[in-house]
Amino acid sequence: MAETALNDTRAPLGITELRAGNWRLALLVAVIVMTVSIIALPGEISFWVSLAAVLFVGLSIVINAWGNSPGPLLVAPALALLVVMNIFPLMWSFGLSFFKFRVNRLAPPKFTGLSNYEKILTDPTVWDRLQTTAIVVVLTVTTQMVVGFLLALLFEREFPLRRVLLMLVLTPMMLSFVAVGAFFRFYYEPTFGLLSQAVRVFTGEVFILQATPAGAMAGIVIADAWMWSPFVMLLVVAGLVSVPKYLYEAAEIDRASWWRKFRTITFPYIRSLLLLALLFRTIEAFKLFDIVFLITDGGPGTSTETIAVYVYRLGFQAFRTSQASALSYILLFVVIVLTNLYLYFARQRDAQV
């Protein structure tokens, strides 16, 4: 079954060959049509023309892939939906990023080449927000790795009621960002919030966590780390329980110390999972939006405004649509690189286990 698709020996179609399955030609035509339509036609019409062009390419790819195998038929609906709802909007906004366009103005898009990218990359605000994001990523991911690892050492053991207690620890991860944001906003509330009241017992003064940039940052990091440390724990526990028990027995016979056992037996088994947890959480922390939006709204000032929040402001509050698109593409690139790394290591580990 599977071989028919893999051992497809049909010669690839030449790009100029006029056939329904020649998706390279279709893609070339579509790109030209899209570019022309965006330049020449009003926004609304050019949008529909572009969508049609993309669907044309998709159809061509499916026809091309059609062999004796039902594979393409099975995946076509899913791919079609993803193309329409994800890939096409991305491509369209990729096109937009080369134009001057504001969604709240009626003016048709004006081609400006790379000037949006130039603006974005030379904008000190962007670099400042990237810096903020980097701080959030480093702090929250480090905290999660440490806390998650310690939790894993605790929950790797078999003890009575383990499943019940594990449930308590795993719950935060499954909550909505909005719920977590609301919780922590409630706890950070200056007069009756739990944290403020607890601090007041010691200092006697009103404590407003979010009054200082460092405090606000801490507030975000604590909330996010609280929510996602169990994720790291889950991965580490998976690594810890995959260590064959006889290795520890052999080490016991060989009179190895606790540290030696950890270094030579345990760590090699969890190394790959730690790396995966690190990458996964980095990707997630990089796009941190909801918690920041709800707890500090980027404040005080713009001290906790992450890049995701900035794109939101740029796109939906300042309505610099095409600039926001350009910035999005820079972020997209980062995420693709990280995702690629993640998958590479995930596959590597899969092969080992």
Partner: protein, 359 residues
Amino acid sequence: MSTIALHNLTKRFGTLTAVDDIDLEVSAGEVLCLLGPSGCGKTTTLRMVAGLETATAGDVVIGGERVNHLTAAQRNVAMAFQFYALYPSLTVADNLAYPLHAEPIAEAERDRRVAQVAEVLELTHVLRRLPGQLAEGEKQRVSVGRAIIRDPNCFLFDEPLSRLDVQLRETMRGQIKEVLSNLKKATVIVTHDQFEALTMADRIAVMRDGVIEQVASPHDIFAKPSNIFVASFIGTPQMNLIPATILEPTQGVSNFDIGSQHIAIALKHRLRPGDRITLGIRPRSFELVAQQGPETILADVDLIEPMGAETLFHLAMQDHELRVVVDRARRASVGERLAVRFRPEHTHIFDANQQLMQP
């Protein structure tokens, strides 16, 4: 002195009794094999000696000292595991050196001992490799090497050869035996393979259902199995066990009713007419005869299995089957009726309680 002694050792897992009140002694320089079918408690016994399981009752004595309360590390025993338990992230050299890190010795000395052990076990060319890159036989030698690199109180081997193919197993049996004979330590080897036990052991302890059925030298365990279980467990093809009833003796010759026919054999055992016993005869103790007589059994050839130098005949004798090994030169065809005879001195007699009767 490197000795092991077990007194009334018992291990229960919940309601299951894995090891039931066993006594055993292994002297210095002696190799003892715990032999038995899977689930008989032999591995549990070994793990209690190692300190990986706690005994429910009874004592483990190593080198004259009661060690029940000591951890595996404190008992200073060396053990080779069934699945080798090589540390996957360490090279062969580091695996071999692993037990030495607990001892206060210089790095140079450590390297010297690794080199020495690698030399003995022919591992020198793979010292830099990781366990995952080794062949099965090399892994096995590393696991043995990790045990013998130390100077422990005793050696324990858990199914050391079970994962090797037949040819490699034969080579390794000899090699391990040679290495062990130089070490002069009490050694316990757990195995389910009788050849392994017969070739490597000084003494064999056959276990069944948590109980030791017999402890004896490889020769005695084959020649004088103390009960039907041991008799049928040791030796291939399996010993023939023929239920028989004793009849009145005639002129000092015992007569037996074996169901379909009567046979007469001169035996020194004290046998009472009417008793039900089991005759145990090894397949190689038979000879085919041309003439039918009072001491012969008549049976029809049912199946012929050539085994190389010899041939195994399955003979049908009414409701019973006889396994007879003959020289490969002896041919027969299925359905042919043969007369076989066995020598009285090679006959084992088991009483109604399945125990061996002494002559």
